[in-house]
Symmetry: C2
Subunit: 345 residues, 2 copies
């Protein structure tokens, strides 16, 4: 048997997958024979299907049932046969015109929209601040022993931090510290802050060097706290629309995973670190790093809100999800998010 896929085999495989994506039912040889332009009898199709099964692209749930795509089959489909559908998400455009000024709200809205449009579950991670530049820092005194540090980063991401200090601070000192911090740190990405700078600042702060240390610690910490980054999900109940995911065992597991968004961050990290051409990644079944989602497929994309502010947006659905549509939708949406930022500045 030739291990190479003939043209005809590809056509048949494609037909099988397309059909299965639509119906969710195993597809038999007669269906293919009838609804393709191949003009082959079901018997011939059967032979070919037998080959395809042996090659590992399709499987039979049981003898005397039709075939369904294997993970490998889906993979081939996604890699080589997909035809993206460009879906217009007009609602998104409208929504964005409203200029949600809270990034968080915007993202939630996007997630919601995406879930509603695709009938899958959507997730979206807030853009990671640590790739981002500090716009300014503002220290204010709250009371005797506490000061409030506000860090504003490029893209108007705001972090608040309450710092407890040992010594009392008068207004003048606070002002000086403010200036000191801002002159040194403004415009820097958070990774760019190094020990040399810190010690220089400490030196300049003189007797207040302890506070500088505290403040920088707090800033660093507030950044690190962001490491377990927020991930919003939407449309979790959509999984009930797909019988293969809707049984209690699986549904419970999946829902739980969404709640423990800890796990989702793994996915996000994976997507962010990966630098492939399109920025879109597809995890089929067991390819996903999340055990609970072995019966799902996950499609993720990276969006950018300008200068290094990157987040991840993703769709989780059954393995038989409409990849064409999903990839198209994700592309559209990331593109529109990019646009949004451009218009904003």
């Amino acid at each position: 048997m030739d291990l190479q896929l003939s043209e005809r085999k590809i056509k048949i495989l494609q037909a099988i997958i397309r059909n299965y994506l639509e119906t969710g039912e195993p597809v038999g040889s007669r269906t293919i024979s009838k609804y393709t332009d191949l003009n082959l009898s079901s018997a011939t199709i059967r032979n070919e299907m037998s080959d395809l099964e042996e090659m590992g692209y399709i499987v039979q749930p049981h003898t005397s049932a039709g075939r369904i795509p294997s993970d490998m089959g889906y993979r081939l489909y996604v890699d080589t046969m997909m035809e993206e559908k460009d879906r217009e998400l007009t609602e998104l455009k409208e929504m964005m015109l409203e200029k949600e000024d809270k990034v968080e709200h915007l993202l939630r809205q996007v997630a919601k929209l995406l879930a509603a449009n695709t009938n899958y579950v959507s997730m979206i991670s807030a853009p990671a601040i640590h790739t981002n530049k500090i716009k300014f820092i503002q220290l204010s005194r709250m009371d005797e022993r506490q000061i409030l540090a506000v860090v504003v980063a490029e893209g108007n991401v705001i972090k608040n931090n309450i710092i407890s200090v040992q010594e009392r601070l008068d207004d003048e000192t606070l002002l000086k510290l403010n200036i000191l911090l801002n002159t040194h740190l403004n415009g820097l990405a958070l990774e760019e802050i190094n020990l040399g700078m810190i010690s220089a600042m400490k030196h300049q702060a003189g007797i207040h060097s302890a506070i500088v240390a505290d403040v920088i610690d707090a800033i660093a910490q507030s950044i690190r706290a962001e490491e377990d980054l927020e991930v919003y999900t939407s449309g979790a109940n959509n999984i009930f629309k797909y019988p293969e995911l809707a049984d209690q065992q699986k549904a419970s597991e999946i829902i739980n995973t969404f709640e423990e968004n800890q796990m989702l961050t793994e996915l996000v990290q994976g997507t962010l670190s990966d630098e492939n051409s399109t920025g879109i990644q597809v995890y089929i079944g067991n390819e996903t790093p999340i055990q609970a989602m072995r019966d799902c497929s996950v499609v993720t994309a990276t969006y950018e809100l300008g200068e290094g502010m990157r987040g991840t947006i993703g769709i989780i659905g059954p393995k038989r999800m409409d990849y064409d549509k999903v990839v198209g939708a994700l592309k559209t949406i990331t593109h529109q998010l990019d646009e949004l930022y451009k218009n904003r500045t």
Copy 2:
């Protein structure tokens, strides 16, 4: 038939409910006859049960099945027969010692803990800021046309707000505005800010009165934005542990409700506005304002984090939830949250 419940009927009803809460199965006359100290034959129990059914406290899922409590039966139980179990939530104490400084994180933790301990779904609303006093306001300039307003309220609740202004502001003016706002507004609850004050401030601001208006608008808006208050839920997948809630239709509906936390706020509002003695409210089945939860019971409690900062904490579970335990746990937890605040200040 006497409409008054005899001592014996009460005992039987109580036994039925207790048993049903434990097993989740309809309970028959023989069970009661055996496992109570009433020493009555099953036939007698049957007669009594027949009465109880006629009175509406119990129902039969079908002829030839045992009885289960009706909403009315549960109601009677909760109102008069419950024996709170004081559960020690030691983990909570430990956790609180760590002094999570972000209120949000603390609340999420509490929700998680509560869900894990009860095996029901928990929800918790962030404390409403609008019952709260302004500690200070800090305006900083971000760039030409934008200023950042940080409002810190009693209890260290922090709101950020980016305000776009028409005119350019120099540092001096900003400083003046800062002082102006703080002298007028510090220590006030947000409802206490009235038009008189605002016009006074505008007057003092002179040519910058437009900005004062902008700022106050923004503050008011940031407060109003808080109206659709955050509600965190945890343990959603616990509903799958109760067959009466685990079927697709219902589970989907319930999960969806959690996501649209819009709905939950209704519940929260209801609890917050109600001023009954214990602060604990029990909604059984159809009593709940949320249609999707007609097969659930919801128990809510109000917690306080000092001076007017109140939020709601709640448990959602099947109607046959262990009310004794849940009410106990909620009391413990709200009490400990109160304690926490005391130790903090």
